[in-house]
Symmetry: C2
Subunit: 383 residues, 2 copies
């Protein structure tokens, strides 16, 4: 359990059913680092958080059921109104509050509903209620995503992370909302260096549908500010990386309609950027994703997607393997048993390796299959 932070969650009525309002309250205002979506259309909470005057954070209010995106200045003013109310209840400064939202784009937050939910939300704060907070930010997620680890060493420090994902999970900044808390002592400069570095290896390596959200947000908070003891830095970084990767994988596994996770590695490229471009193109191909849903070892769709990426490719060197079985070598089919492959592809996690035999750089990422349930969920998300 991370010291110095309490959590809460209530059903305020933003959504027709389920928890929809979550609160994080820090015993003392803490430093943080944040990454926001690269989409040019940014939700109100991102614009609001970036305008804030204060450097420290005393509370974080998260809602589901309404993205508060494309709501103009009204959407930002709505957050200011809520901040004022919440600051009074928590006896903190308005500028010390951060927001995050997820849900339908284009609708304004029902401010009165949110404000009416605050008393119960504040009353419910407790160090042990991380799960109720995680549940309050779920949309089409089927389970709350929580990862907790102790940082090895004598300090007795922990890291706890929560995330929500499911849809609008894109190749370039993958998570919708993820918050990581630690009582390991971290100064703001180090936090702002660690978060993007580790995100590139974790949250940015997952993809569900290739659509970038207007609301993507990752935040890191340390409840014990200050320079870390020199000795412990390495294990903090490793533990944090493990927590972030585990959260990212929980998001992919719960991708909308997904029945399996595909771990895709493009290896032996001349440059890492080539390997990455090929991996993202293959992971984004609906034909590749439906083939995996159908347990169809259709390696031709993999190489066709690779050939369609805007980077050099020598098809005659390409080797493709699924679950360790080579399907194609030097760009042409290698003998394999269709029956055996169908069986191997029925697993919940599939290894897909595209070997370019062209250099020493590689890139790996995680994606999902594309299924009937993705269509079902998304053909009627608003109703």
């Amino acid at each position: 359990m991370v010291k110095g932070v309490r959590f809460s969650g209530v059903r305020s009525g933003i959504k027709a059913a389920g928890l929809d309002l979550g609160l994080v309250s820090f015993d003392e205002a803490v430093p943080h680092a944040a990454l926001y979506t690269r989409n040019k259309v940014k939700a109100a909470h991102i614009l609001y958080n970036e305008r804030r005057a204060a450097r420290r954070v005393a509370a974080l209010l998260v809602n589901s059921g309404c993205a508060n995106a494309c709501t103009g200045e009204n959407g930002i003013e709505d957050l200011a109104t809520i901040a004022k109310e919440l600051a009074g209840r928590l006896n903190i400064r308005e500028e010390e509050i951060l927001f995050a939202s997820t849900g339908v784009i284009g609708r304004r937050l029902p401010v009165e509903t949110v404000v009416a939910g605050l008393p119960a939300l504040v009353a419910g704060l407790s160090g042990g209620r991380l799960e109720v907070f995680a549940r309050a930010m779920m949309t089409t997620d089927t389970y709350p995503k929580i990862v907790e680890e102790r940082v090895p060493g004598d300090g007795g420090c922990s890291i706890a992370g929560v995330a929500k994902g499911a849809g609008m999970i894109n190749p370039l900044f993958a998570t919708m909302l993820a918050f990581i808390f630690t009582d390991y002592p971290l100064d703001p400069i180090r936090m702002r260096r660690l978060l993007p570095t580790l995100s590139r290896k974790t949250f940015e390596r997952i993809s569900v549908d290739g659509d970038t959200s207007t609301n993507d947000t990752v935040m890191l908070f340390s409840t014990k500010p200050g320079a870390p003891a020199q000795a412990g830095t390495g294990s903090l970084k490793q533990t944090l990386a493990r927590v972030m990767k585990a959260l990212a994988l929980l998001i992919v596994k719960d991708g909308e309609g997904a029945t399996k996770v595909i771990h895709l590695t493009v290896k032996s490229a001349q440059q890492k950027r080539v390997a990455e471009a090929l991996a993202r193109r293959i992971a984004g191909s609906p034909l590749v994703k439906t083939a995996f849903f159908g347990c169809d070892p259709n390696w031709g769709r993999v190489i066709a997607a690779a050939g369609d990426a805007e980077v050099p490719l020598d098809p005659e060197k390409v080797e493709i393997a699924i679950q360790g079985e080579v399907l194609a070598r030097e760009g042409i089919e290698a003998p394999f048993s269709e029956e055996k492959l169908k069986g191997l592809m029925a697993a919940p996690e599939i290894e897909l390796v595209v070997d370019l035999h062209d250099g020493r750089a590689s890139y790996d990422m995680y994606t999902t299959d594309l299924t009937y349930d993705y269509i079902k969920i998304n053909a009627s998300y608003r109703s």
Copy 2:
């Protein structure tokens, strides 16, 4: 009916069922222009056609059921073997034969099966059998795609085009296979100028799933070579553009699993390349496409996809309209009737206009919705 060309189609046995081999035979060898896929992985027929020594074309052999892609030098040699057999039967030179294939990637053509099918194929040649040829190249297409028009004027010339589409229909070179025949006199230089110009406005403006095929091929043949009469040039170009656009629309309408066609226009952009990039990004978004399937006026997904394109966007100027009803103005929701929109979106053709209010350039294209049937068709295409 285009003079100087005959068509045929048979079932040779490449596929388990249905016609799979089509032949075009020209009374005399003719000039042609061709466009091939931009995918770096190119099917054997493309590599073979480009290596040919002869400039004129006497016959075109098209098969479905096997893409003959990723088959290496063997795939090209297989075509040479078939060319030799076909040349003997038609009494033409091997180098005067072109090929085109569509079907599963990675499998070699069953050469003996194809050769065994040639006698019946040649025997069946007739000027009136364009439809049987069109049917022979269908894969997941649900109907043959044929457009015929007379060129206005005294010459009595016609244009006939056939195409196959359905899946692996991509944003940058959209058709799988399309062949256009005319007995309007056209010299090769003019043909090679006309084909790419008109393709950019027709075949390159459609998208089904955003996956580029390894086999995409468009060819134009004139059975009456020679410089056109000065007076008639304009009407030829207009008629040809109409035929190509009609074929492109037939491909979109028959997109795998599609229940509707979305005509998307991005207007009032500062530059055409910006309008095009936004249109392609929106047309490729699975969330936008599933919303259209569900008749859900979810304009937030449209603006989120636009914000995710790698071109400048000022969300605060964006206006979005579906079937003429404005859903968002200056980037925020405009009042509209959800019920009315649901009704309007049940139409088989939907107009989606994204107005950037930022300049004078525009770009329009056609795409489909994303449905259960797309998943169904593609989760088990090979079996």
